[in-house]
């Protein structure tokens, strides 16, 4: 029983990171209908920029974080303007491919600048676990769970009360109507890309400090999170959060109980199996909006 609880708890905290990264996907998809395959590279870039600022320029953690977020905002704005805007209205395959192409360019830039070695990051939180009852939990994961909670509240408030947030929801509902109501759809797209980039950078920094180092394999998370957003439904923020936690738990349980049976690897493939099964039953994910098609 303790084993089960420990796996579940661990799945929940790991899942909170998935939720965070998944939020980035959903924000972009919700407003512009683009699934950004370069999200993992956003995360990687955020982690490396944070690393460069803290270890090479010796800036303390909090200002470094602010600078990282500023950089991510800029990155989101530039990419949206240069790469994505020319593709508005193009078929889905082109949009998928352009983000895939973007991901290899970003990865190449990171590799070219920082190489492929693991770079150590200054320790932000200590490695000693916190005890919840009999179960030890890693400190870093608790911070990530906390920041996800904070972000969730902030985003919900943003979408509910802030002008740009409402405008973003309006754009998602109908671009034409929003345009005629005086909303600048372009600005909304740019905003959603920079928010997504910031959220991903936050995920990257959290992951890097938890692992104690940064290397290219962080970008794998971009792919790992795809089942999360699909399971939750591409256009549902609540779905992304819940999907992240679900996938985290599923992964850990599969790793704990099935890996020994199959000789490893089940942990990685389990979310994708779940993805296929869920899509068979609910083609738009658990919380995704069902589209009614008309000719």
């Amino acid at each position: 029983m303790e084993f089960f609880l420990q796996l579940t708890l661990n799945g929940l905290v790991v899942g909170s990171i998935y939720s965070l990264v998944a939020l980035g996907f959903v924000i972009i998809y919700k407003s512009s209908g683009i699934l950004n395959f370069a999200q993992g590279e956003f995360l990687l870039l955020g982690a490396y920029v944070f690393l460069a600022i803290t270890s090479q320029a010796n800036v303390p953690t909090l200002p470094a974080l602010a600078l990282t977020f500023a950089f991510a905002t800029l990155l989101g704005l530039v990419l949206e303007r240069v790469v994505l805007r020319p593709l508005i209205g193009e078929p889905i395959i082109s949009v998928i491919m352009v983000t895939l192409g973007l991901s290899s360019v970003l990865r190449a830039i990171v590799q070219g600048i920082w190489g492929t070695d693991t770079r150590p990051v200054h320790a932000v939180f200590s490695l000693d676990p916190i005890q919840i009852g009999p179960l030890p939990v890693a400190r870093g994961y608790l911070y990530s769970a906390a920041s996800v909670a904070v972000l969730l509240v902030l985003l919900t408030l943003f979408f509910k009360y802030a002008r740009p947030g409402i405008a973003m929801r309006a754009t998602a509902a109908s671009q034409q109507v929003s345009l005629s109501m005086g909303i600048s759809v372009r600005r909304i797209f740019a905003l959603s890309w920079s928010i997504a980039a910031v959220v991903s950078a936050a995920g990257g920094v959290l992951l890097a400090t938890m692992r104690g180092g940064v290397d290219g394999s962080l970008a794998v998370l971009g792919l790992k999170v795809l089942p999360v957003v699909i399971v939750g439904g591409l256009d549902s923020i609540g779905g992304a959060i819940l999907g992240g936690l679900l996938v985290g738990v599923l992964e850990n349980l599969a790793g704990g109980y099935l890996d020994p049976v199959f000789g490893g690897g089940v942990k990685e493939v389990a979310p994708f199996v779940a993805l296929v099964l869920i899509l068979m039953v609910k083609p738009y994910g658990l919380f995704g909006k069902v589209r009614i098609e008309r000719v």
Binding site: V98, S103, V105, R107, I109, G112, I230, V266
Partner: protein, 346 residues
């Protein structure tokens, strides 16, 4: 002096070649193609064979994605199914003439299984389902040791036909290229039939297609099957050419490469599949040559080669999508038309 294309019968409108000259040019090209092994070095024969295999695989993907509009990120997985089927059959003593087509058929069946979700899924959600298929096949390839040899891989004997041993790249060329040409010829004809037209109708508007009497699900599955058959044959040839295959031969990057090929070549174009596949196979080789030429003066470049390759690949795709969304095939058509009507083009 010709100044345009004028068809007077339906038959000529449907014809593969516009003019008799096109036939001659193609014939001359084939002769030149089969002369390649007499002067190319053994490494460039390896590149040529890889290009030939990529053409078949890209053609298969283009049938599904370019002509039928079903986005698939599972091409590497289908390639793996074909390759491992061949490894299994050849390992049990089956000759090439059995192993290669059977690999195609097995992959077609696998493609149909993964095509079932396409009944309900569209666009991004379908792309995700095929992505899941990729990871599931990859898991099977690295853990079903009895058939796939696990992560260590499995080796394949060289193909034999009527006692002739195709043991090196130079002889394999004469096996791969004819299969490649046959595949292209079949594809070109497929889109002159009802089946091919139905595929295109589904791509353009599936609901309308259904209203017009196209059984959407049946044709979608058929498209998955035909496409996967091509990819399976490509996988089989890849197994025979590489002689040792492991899950590392089929990473997600291969599926992305294939998508890149049909994007750069041109979606929904047979010629585009060929041009795109050749282009993306040659690109890293040319980069490598340029890199090693420059590495003499800048030794640090060898370290930068992998990121450089990545960056060029990504940039090529992004730039093509922004500036040449119809790909090389369209570029080729425009160049040809300009010369065809020269000097009276306007």
């Amino acid at each position: 002096m010709r100044c345009g294309e004028f068809h007077t019968t339906y038959a000529s409108d449907m014809g593969i070649f516009d003019t008799r000259r096109a036939r001659w040019v193609l014939g001359a090209f084939m002769v030149a193609l089969f002369a390649v092994p007499s002067f190319a070095t053994s490494y460039w024969m390896d590149v040529a064979n890889r290009a030939g295999i990529a053409v078949i695989a890209a053609m298969g993907l283009n049938i599904l994605t370019g002509f039928t509009g079903q986005i698939s990120l599972g091409n590497a997985a289908f390639l793996a199914v074909g390759a491992y089927t061949t490894a299994f059959l050849a390992g049990h003593g089956m000759p090439f003439v059995v192993a290669c087509p059977v690999s195609g058929i097995v992959t077609a069946l696998a493609g149909m299984v993964f095509g079932i979700p396409s009944l309900r899924l569209k666009g991004l959600y379908l792309a995700m389902a095929t992505l899941a298929a990729h990871f599931i096949v990859e898991f099977a390839a690295s853990h079903w040791d009895a058939v796939t040899g696990g992560v260590a891989g499995v080796s394949i004997p060289s193909p034999r036909i009527l006692g002739f041993d195709f043991s090196d790249d130079r002889s394999l060329f004469f096996l791969i290229i004819p299969i490649c040409i046959a595949g292209l010829y079949f594809a070109k004809n497929l889109f002159r039939t009802r089946v091919g037209k139905a595929f295109v109708a589904i791509r353009d508007q599936d609901i309308s297609a259904e209203v017009m009497g196209v059984d959407v699900f049946r044709y979608k599955l058929l498209s998955f099957a035909v496409s996967s058959f091509y990819v399976g044959v490509a996988g089989s040839l890849l197994a025979y050419q590489a002689r040792i295959i492991s899950p590392e031969n089929f990473p997600l990057g291969v599926a992305i490469d294939h998508l890149g090929m049909i994007i750069i070549g041109g979606l929904g174009s047979v010629l585009g599949s060929v041009l795109g596949a050749i282009f993306l196979t040659l690109l890293p080789e040319i980069l490598r040559l340029a890199n090693s030429a420059a590495a003499g003066s800048f030794p640090g470049l060898i370290q930068l080669f992998t990121p450089l390759k990545l960056a060029v690949f990504g940039l090529t795709i992004v730039l093509f999508l922004i500036f040449e969304p119809d790909g090389l095939a369209d570029l080729w058509r425009r160049i040809r038309n300009w010369f065809r009507l020269y000097p009276f083009s306007y």
